[in-house]
Symmetry: C2
Subunit: 220 residues, 2 copies
């Protein structure tokens, strides 16, 4: 037995979850934690929208919530500085963008290097940006899905952690595809956070090029 391994297993990963809307991915994380499947703890949920329904989900789970209205800040960087301050005040180790509809800046990324995770409703690099499901339907693809990735300075360009695919049918519209992909997001995001919580995810930046993400379940 290895005491550091035991320590790694016993200390839950402290998450900060950023939302703008209904927060179904937040709910998936809450549920997996409650079931004991995800060794993590949500320390704070931050929304940039005061009416976001995800805030109710957090309150029901007795998770502290903070509303930061981006319009009240003079710049994206100033908004992100306040977010970093809030996340640090809650001892957050890993930041999860769960339907957070703001572009984040270097201020947040530098404060949490390779610890800002996004879930995107397409098989990146296909269909980055907004309305990914509508883009997929308009293009006429027959396979789409979702991507969990580390956030970098680009729009949905960061290193891929994991992906799940779904079939796209001729009868699909944006909404039916959105629902099908969302079911996969709810599986993928908690799974990826579990890998991080267990110390299984390695990011290799030694290559000089794009960082390589490796899943190593033999880690403590």
């Amino acid at each position: 037995m290895n005491t550091s391994a035991d320590a790694a297993r016993c200390t839950p990963l402290v998450l900060g979850v950023l939302i703008s809307g209904s927060g179904t991915n937040l709910q998936a994380i809450i549920d997996r934690i409650a079931e004991g499947q995800l060794p993590a703890k949500i320390a704070v949920v931050i929304s940039n929208v005061a009416s976001a329904k995800g805030l109710d989900r957090a309150r029901r789970a007795e998770i502290p919530t903070v509303v930061l209205d981006h319009k009240a800040f003079p710049s994206r960087a100033a908004f992100d500085e306040k977010m970093v301050e809030t996340l640090r005040a809650h001892d957050v180790e890993c930041v999860v963008l769960a339907g957070f509809m703001r572009i984040v800046t270097k201020v947040l990324l530098d404060a949490f290097p390779y610890r800002v995770i996004n879930i995107h409703p397409s098989l990146l690099p296909a269909f980055p940006g907004v309305n990914a499901q509508a883009q997929a339907v308009a293009y006429g693809v027959r396979i789409s899905g979702c991507t969990a990735h580390f956030v970098d300075a680009g729009t949905d360009t960061g290193p891929v952690i994991a992906q799940r695919s779904v079939d796209v049918f001729e009868r699909d519209d944006e909404e039916s595809l959105r629902k099908r992909i969302l079911r996969e997001e709810h599986v993928l995001l908690p799974a990826v956070l579990g890998w991080i919580a267990r110390g299984w995810l390695e990011v290799d930046t030694s290559g000089g090029g794009r960082p390589r993400v490796r899943l190593n379940p033999s880690n403590p």
Copy 2:
């Protein structure tokens, strides 16, 4: 019983296959036809490379072969005019790009509207152009695949007919991914040609936007 339906079923689709290399997709078509699974006939195989190994596959199957060295033509259009002449001389109804490493022009596309099919080793619109498998490995995706699509004037931009996905593993390099995707190409391409041969594939250009491809197995 419907006589036109019977006629549609009994007359094999006449294919012209364009290659530049080893022709494993050509072989998959030859094999499915030989097994009676694909109601088609390859009338001619055209290669722009005299040493292409796919030419031997065609000769073994007693399929007429034609070598057209693109370097012997003053322009892409002139090369394509000769291809169209050759395809028409063999009564070709449907043109299959099976590892054909030349950009085709409006000359070919206008001669065979929605009857020029390409198979591409990625889930388009991700990784168009050359070295799609290397692009996928470099990006670090976890899911890739192949796409059968109608060729249009862009590079791998035409309407998607069907796609098949494969997992991408951390240990993968371009070659291992190439092999895994190729197995799916060998399933997908003959299947799609079978849909066309049976009259099951409809292209709806009425929307004004991107043409919609529909699979309608209830057609005769």
